[in-house]
């Protein structure tokens, strides 16, 4: 008996080791590397602040910060000076010994470390503008000059400046539920954003010696304190943008009297700053839904830019529940306005632009703003603010209720379609940022993709609503192939911090937008996706979501497990490549009480004459997957009778074998051609293996044939 079992055991060993020569080597185990394993080990543990469903929990808290500011613009010196009272509400359960303030302008200070961390080489030559930017004649005297940090009684308040951040050393710890108010005074020199770059600044017009100001990050503003990061502890290096708290603003901005100004918030004194004519036109605009009404005309603006007023005017604004503040001002500005009906609520779409941007802006800017508000409201939540402004700022940068956009016509007023579409595209994108991250307030310093990716996806829907033939250049799966199939050493996973990724635009904008597009169009379907996306937007409006909250909500609200998708698309740099490896054909023949499958070895896909008449056409198809991503297999079968059929095998088909799977497909009709992903829905990086019979001509040869006729 013992002998017999030994024999059995050795037989078993021989079988399990496959008679290999490694008989004596002990087999090593492995951890779970299945691409469908759950993300539990990668995501933070849910708690009562952030739940497993992806919703804010019962103990979710958020700080609130209110600002009262007086701002003066010096147009002669291009300088901002200001004083503010910051009212900080500690809504957390924690006691705070200090507060942190962001001093973003210090990125431009003489002692900024930002230039020190970028590498550079001497080029053969540079354009003059680029040369002047990289090798300025004089060092720019940028950064905040903080001239006073005081308690509300005027006494000095202890503080420590660390580059782009400032710690307020509280006289006594701030208990949960308490409020602390303090004052800051400062000034800074405004950068010329056309020659020096930047997310705000001024543009100088030598012809009429005027400046357009687009002003942001102009005041010391509070850092976020939450249960994910504690205090923000990451400097502003210049690329990864901002994390901010919501609060109420009261802002008085003093500018030359002949300026037209637009800003975050509701204007409190329109009778003091607008003419009677302008007020009359504005009243009309508030009831005009089809065409923009011009409130300050080009003719009026041209008259104003000829002289310079020595007087000033103070524009007074109140903004409720916004995370930031920005404004734009110039005597060159033309202003047009149109009302937008958002589910019965009137929202105003505004544009401010100099004559150099007209007629491009007059034709399209305000309409693009209106379209954005409509489309985004449809897919997320009704736009909660009273207005959205697009400013001819010749960059692309977003703030609550106001954004700065590029695009100008040729000097003769003509513009190409590409200039037009680029301007509309950026305008939709920047206005769209009102939703992500101005309201769905993710942390862009940590996770650029959370607002840029979601917004780039939503932007596509608004563009297609604006013009069904809109030339979309980013977001379709085929558009990302060039990036994803590139040099792997220069690609980072989406789940990377913005400051550290290569090819920022593809990493944080294009690829996540494509991923969402694929989820909606191909994996989840529009209905399930739209409901989940809306749920996420509404759960986290006026709150601070993290990636886990997004991933969890999308699954929780749709009933679709997407851990494999997040893992592949967001945590790795893997690519999609699915192909057809082999196709075998069979017909059946009855044999007593059995049915036999007989292989048809006729070359190609067609069956030979031996096939029995009453047998179906049976195909055994082996699909292989050279790419690392698991994705559904989308197959198109073309039949010899001219009809076709689409079959989608869910991604889970790869759960047992990540390299290849074999499927049986039976049909009453004969197949002439099999194609994988014919409409390029999956970002397949190599389509040369996507059809059967194998193509005889490659892309190059097809093109050559087309050209030669």
């Amino acid at each position: 008996m013992k002998k017999f079992s030994l024999l059995l055991f050795s037989l078993f060993l021989m079988i399990t080791t496959g008679f290999s020569q490694e008989n004596n080597i002990t087999k090593q185990g492995h951890t779970n590397q299945n691409k469908f394993r759950q993300l539990k080990q990668d995501l933070p543990t849910p708690n009562s602040q952030r739940t497993a469903s992806g919703a804010p929990g019962v103990n979710y808290t958020q700080q609130k910060v209110d600002y009262r500011m007086d701002i003066v613009l010096d147009d002669e010196k291009q300088r901002i000076s200001g004083s503010e009272t910051i009212i900080y509400h500690n809504n957390s359960k924690d006691e705070l010994a200090y507060l942190w303030v962001q001093l973003d302008q210090n990125m431009r200070a003489k002692d900024s470390k930002t230039p020190d961390i970028s590498s550079g080489k001497i080029r053969k030559s540079l354009s003059k503008s680029r040369f002047n930017r990289s090798y300025p004649k004089e060092e720019f005297d940028g950064g905040f000059y903080v001239t006073g940090v005081t308690n509300t009684d005027g006494s000095k308040l202890s503080h420590t400046i660390n580059q782009t951040m400032m710690r307020i050393n509280l006289p006594k710890p701030l208990a949960s539920g308490e409020t602390f108010s303090f004052n800051v005074k400062w000034w800074y020199n405004i950068n010329n954003h056309r020659t020096q770059g930047g997310r705000s600044g001024f543009e100088h017009f030598p012809k009429d010696n005027n400046n357009n100001y687009v002003i942001a990050q102009f005041y010391p503003r509070m850092c976020v304190y939450d249960n994910v990061e504690g205090w923000q502890n990451d400097q502003f290096w210049g690329r990864s943008e901002f994390a901010l708290e919501f609060g109420d603003f009261e802002v008085n901005i003093t500018v030359p009297a002949d300026h037209m100004l637009g800003a975050t918030g509701v204007l409190q004194n329109e009778k003091e700053v607008l003419s009677k004519t302008e007020l009359r036109r504005l009243k009309k605009a508030r009831k005009t839904y089809d065409n923009p009404v011009v409130i300050r005309t080009q003719k009026e603006a041209i008259e104003l830019e000829k002289t310079k007023s020595n007087e000033t005017k103070t524009w007074k604004f109140k903004a409720t529940n916004v995370r930031d503040y920005a404004f734009a001002t110039s005597r060159k500005f033309i202003w047009d306005a149109m009302a937008v009906d958002i589910n019965g609520k009137n929202v105003m779409a505004y544009s401010l632009y100099s004559k150099e941007a007209n007629p491009l802006y007059g034709d399209h800017s305000t309409r693009a703003v209106a379209q954005t508000l409509k489309t985004y409201s449809k897919y997320t939540f009704d736009y909660p603010y009273h207005k959205a402004i697009s400013v001819d700022g010749q960059m692309g940068m977003e703030y609550p209720q106001i954004c700065f956009n590029p695009g100008r016509p040729n000097p003769d007023g003509t513009y190409s379609d590409r200039t037009k579409y680029r301007m509309i595209k950026v305008t939709i994108h920047e206005v769209g940022h009102n939703f992500f991250p101005m309201i769905v307030n993710s942390d862009e310093r940590q996770w650029t993709w959370m607002d840029e990716g979601l917004n780039s996806y939503m932007e596509m829907l608004a563009e297609l609503d604006y013009d069904p033939n809109f030339p979309i250049t980013r977001g379709y799966p085929k558009n990302i192939v060039r990036y994803m199939s590139g040099d792997q050493s220069k690609i980072a996973p989406i789940m990377s911090k913005g400051d550290n990724v290569y090819s920022f635009g593809n990493n944080a904008y294009g690829k996540p937008a494509t991923a969402l597009w694929i989820l909606r169009e191909t994996i989840m379907g529009k209905e399930l996706f739209d409901h989940a996306f809306k749920t996420y937007s509404q759960r986290w409006m006026f709150k601070h979501p993290t990636p886990a909250d997004f991933f969890r909500t999308m699954e929780d609200a749709s009933g679709v497990d997407l851990d494999w998708f997040w893992r592949g698309w967001f945590y790795t740099t893997d690519v999609t490549d699915i192909g057809i490896k082999d196709v075998k054909k069979f017909y059946t023949k009855e044999n007593g009480d059995r049915v036999n499958f007989i292989e048809d070895t006729t070359p190609g896909l067609s069956f030979g004459e031996e096939k029995t008449k009453d047998s179906k056409y049976h195909y055994e198809i082996t699909y292989n997957k050279p790419g690392g991503l698991v994705m559904p297999i989308i197959v198109h079968f073309n039949y010899t009778d001219g009809t076709s059929e689409r079959k989608v095998y869910p991604a889970q088909i790869w759960r047992y074998n990540d390299k290849e799977v074999t499927k049986v497909f039976s049909s009453s009709k004969e197949i002439s051609k099999i194609t994988i992903d014919p409409y390029q829905e999956t970002a397949d990086v190599d389509t040369s293996n996507n059809s059967w019979p194998k193509p005889t001509k490659n892309k190059f040869e097809k093109f050559k044939q087309k050209v030669k006729g």
Partner: protein, 165 residues
């Protein structure tokens, strides 16, 4: 008038940074086809960039994909590529024929062919496309011979590379 427009493009494009996030990359796919004994080359570049470079170099206004598109633009593309692109196969300089171009979204694809190549042991490529006007331009080269793949990234500093099997 023309000049000021170019100036605008030159200055504005690099500053678009925050929303369109331009990057400067072209892709040159080189495939040796033993059946036809030819080297097939497909290059894709950003339309905006190539248009601006050619407009400036040849003082033209291409207006690609518009109704006013310059009719003989292929002559300029060919001239430009002849100047910026050089091949040596097995250490012998080779010229290519310009088969044509097509547009796809914001990209232009060029199709080039080097005929009569019996075999490839090594291929040297110099590719300075767009590097003059865009100092950050990177030109990624991928070579496929049979089942073997090689790739190299060319920049203004290293604008030439040898791919060896």
């Amino acid at each position: 008038m023309k000049l000021s427009k170019f100036w605008l493009l030159l200055v504005v494009l690099p500053l678009f940074a925050f929303s369109t996030h331009k990057y400067y990359l072209s892709l040159t796919d080189i495939n040796y086809r033993s059946e036809s004994k030819s080297v097939q080359i497909i290059i894709n570049v950003f339309m905006d960039d190539i248009e601006m470079a050619l407009n400036k170099d040849y003082n033209i206004d291409l207006q690609l994909t518009t109704k006013k598109e310059l009719k003989n633009n292929d002559e300029y593309f060919q001239k430009y590529l002849d100047k910026k692109l050089h091949f040596k196969i097995n250490n012998i300089p080779k010229t290519f024929t310009y088969v044509g171009k097509e547009y796809d979204g914001d990209l232009v694809f060029f199709y080039l062919e080097i005929p009569n190549i019996k075999s490839i042991n090594d291929l040297e490529i110099e590719n300075t496309i767009l590097m003059h006007h865009f100092p950050d331009q990177q030109n990624l080269i991928k070579l496929k011979v049979g089942k073997k793949h090689k790739s190299i990234l060319l920049t203004a500093k290293t604008d030439k590379g040898l791919l060896k099997f």
